[in-house]
């Protein structure tokens, strides 16, 4: 199993009190499979994605990626996981404004020591970014920026792709187009895809779906 989450709990403590976000979530995903994670706002979808990506730590439970318990890892271990095994696509794109499109796409692959120029060229071509490679992110439209973000994630050939509302900032046509490319490339690479989304239509395009309600899977 590529991803296994067991009894994951998470509570946010603030000055005003504490909020329980996840209440014992179990989840699994195999390589080559895609899973949609749906739920209302505040149901804990993004929090669960962040925990699986090693961006935050759970209060209780276990999360295994390729057999390694990431909740037992320190910060450096989780950073290494994000460099080599997991790729994350954010709703806000999170491109590096000081780098060109080409450098942004190559960035994570170089960081992970997996840079493959031919593969990057393929991605640039498939995402229709050939004429944009010398531009900076601020010179691109939202759809183009999201395509760059997905290409960057896929360039390092991650085993697991985590996507947090990857088309939430895009119009319907662009969103559909971007999703086509994401799904086909993930399938080709044999990676697993876990995607947070509000969209029922989008969720229906994935292999399976789980729904979160008040921090628990229905």
């Amino acid at each position: 199993m590529l991803l296994t989450a067991r009894e994951v709990h998470k509570t946010f403590r603030t000055v005003g009190g504490s909020t329980v976000v996840l209440r014992g979530v179990d989840l699994s995903l195999d390589s080559g499979q895609s899973l949609a994670l749906t739920g209302e706002s505040g149901s804990g979808k993004s929090t669960l994605l962040h925990l699986i990506g090693g961006l935050d730590s759970a209060d209780q439970g276990q999360i295994f990626i390729d057999g390694a318990d990431i909740l037992a890892m320190d910060d450096a271990g989780r950073a290494g996981l994000r460099r080599g095994t997991v790729g994350i696509v954010f709703q806000q794109f999170n491109l590096i404004p000081s780098l060109t499109v080409a450098s942004n796409i190559a960035f994570q692959a170089r960081l992970a020591g997996k840079y493959d120029a031919d593969w990057v060229d393929v991605l640039i071509d498939r995402f229709g970014l050939t004429s944009q490679v010398a531009k900076y992110p601020e010179q691109l439209s939202g759809g183009q920026q999201q395509r760059v973000a997905i290409a960057r994630t896929l360039a390092s050939r991650p085993r697991l792709v985590l996507a947090d509302e990857p088309t939430g900032n895009l119009d319907e046509d662009t969103a559909s187009n971007v999703m086509d490319m994401l799904l086909s490339l993930v399938t080709e690479a044999g990676a697993g895809l876990l995607m947070v989304t509000h969209s029922t239509a989008l969720a229906a395009r994935l292999d399976s779906r789980v729904h979160l309600r008040v921090g628990q899977i229905e």
């Binding site: 961006l55 950073a79 290494g80 080599g84 954010f90 450098s103 994570q108």
Partner: protein, 790 residues
Amino acid sequence: MIAVTFAALWGHWWRSPLQLFTLLAGLALATALWSSVQAINAEARASYDAASATLGEVQFDRLVHRDGLPIGQDTYIRLRRGGWLVSPVIEGRIGDVRLIGLDPLTAPGGMAPIGWSNMNDLQDFILADGRIIAAPDVVLDGVESDPAVAPGTAIADVGTVQVLLGRRDEFDALVVRPEQPLGQASLEEIAPELTRQVAQSGSDIGRLTDSFHLNLSAFGLLSFAVGIFIVQGAIGLAFEQLRGTVQTLRTLGVPMQFLVLLIVVELLGLALIAGSIGVGLGYFIAALLMPDVSATLRGLYGADVVGTLELRPIWLASGMAISIGGTVVAASTALWKLSRMPLLVGAQPRAISVIAGRGEKAQAAASAVLLLVAFVLALTADEILTGFVLLGALLIGAALGLPIVLRVLLDGVAQYSRGVIASWFWADTRQQLPGLSLALMALLLAMATNVGVSTMVSSFRLTFVAFLDQRLSSELYVTAESPEQAAYMVDFMTPQVDAVLPIMSAQVQISGRPTDVFGARNHATYRDNWTFLTAGLTPWKDVHTNDAVLINEQLARSADLQVGDVVSIGEQPLAIAGVYADYGNPIGQAIIAEYLFKILFPNVLPLRFGLRLPLEDVGAFVEGLQSEAGLPASSVINQASIKAYSLAIFDRTFTVTAALNILTLSVAGFAILMSLLTLTAMRVPQLAPAWAMGLTRWQLGLLELFRTVMLAVLTGVIALPLGLALAWVLLAVVNVAAFGWRLPMFLFPWDYAQLGGLAILAAGLAALWPALQLARTPPADLLKVFSNEQ
């Protein structure tokens, strides 16, 4: 990983050239101002070392005449025969050149100019008949140049110098070798007229000028602090804009410690570049200022310092170190905040706002503590070091408190504002304050320093002019070359003038302090013109009838003497009848009656005289003096010339201060410009809603301009009392500790108004360009704000 991450970080500077320029320029300016002062200090200290080494004042004891008279060759021979290993020294001036005669055969090792390895060098050069070696700045025919010789100085064999000075068979001092034979006869037996000066007991020019250099260093540090405000502003803004990139890099798998390390390396690289530029710029500034510093030190302390500059490793290293240190200081807070930034910032907005609130509270607390320290020190400080600590606490405390005071003021104004635009403007100004506060703090420091230093200098000048009028009351001053000529001149002059007032002095110790004692004639010139800081009812009468003494403020303060106390000159006990101001004199001075002076110092004969005569007769009298008495023109000087000369020295003394003042103000203006320029790009999202609601772009631009000028005015209003407090500290604490005299403080409202106008103009000019940029922002850019929000 290093290369790609570094490329992403460096790309920020590459894409924000203005920020990079601000950082480099701020750091280079700060380093330049600091290292220029260090260069000047290093050069001056090297000159003092050279001078001390040449005369052996610091290393060796010296025998000098008790009455300050020359030592005869016969005395020297008697001492040598009595077993005393002494070496003669003669010193005089030819024009501006200090001429020193040494005896290479008897001089102790270490008396050679610094840089000469041993006495063989000295012997080699002097044994060549009549050879004279001089510092490179000495331009005289027939002398050889050597950089090891102290500036303004020429060295030759004692015999050669005796001939050149026309003083055959006499010396000024005998240097005592450290090793002396046992059983030598006592000095009292062989030469009772001589006294032994212990090494270091004389006027060490290095110590005398320490306060001047400390003053310069303080100014350099202040300028550096103003520059560091710019750097801190630039780094703070850059890090703020880097937060997104840093967060992305972390989500992509770059560890935070690695990122911090890379950022530190990047900043250190920038510090090295800016430091190199700054040191070069500092050298240029120092080279420009050095001639004035040199003139100041010569005029104020009699210290010869070269007017040119050498590259010295110590200040090169100090410049680079301060550049790196300044970067570390400026970046540490921003870097710490960045390193503590949560990976998922959006999850904890409240925590961040709480931290920001804590920051302001911490700043207010630090300000309050520093101002309290300043208050306590204002009541207790009596040394230079505590005086400067007081200055530092006062200035930094006030600077830290400025944003808080401004915010409170803005809150107050906002409460009373009417109309929607006014309400928006005040709220928006309050929001802008954190971004501008570092630049405004720099402006506050620069303006307060200007007010403080200009008040001190102008008060000093006003007092000094009145002091000159009081002290230089004789219309003419003449100097004879010998006692015989003096006697002839007195006979010649007495019938032609109202009064001939001899000026005679001897060096003594009063209460353990080296003091020049003068004998004053009983004449109305003194009674009518001299004013006292403290005195009995009839000080001059007491001096002339009751064997009393008048002392200067320096002696009174250093020896803790007051009117009524009794001091001794030789064996003679004298009551102090008055204490007078004696600005510009580094050592103690005392005045006794002429008759008493003649009793105590029978061998001192007056060679200088002050002459009282009607002003309209001065021209004819001087002509007669030259043609009939044969006195050369150089021996006669009128009162106006001395005053002009003294004021010229005074004004030159503060040229450096004025130059540093202007530089500091310029740096503050630059800080405002850079802050506004870097903020301009960030302003668009804040101004777009106001534009969308009906304000024109030009109105927005004008409001930006008004905002900056208004903040500069408020800062100026706060800077004025701070500057006056600074002036008080300089006059009442630092000056007293450094020079031994206290100056009265005067206020110069017109000067302050001019300075305020200048600062507002600088702020207005700095704000003009950014305001124009905002006024010309294309509507498309403003619209983009709303499209991004969707």
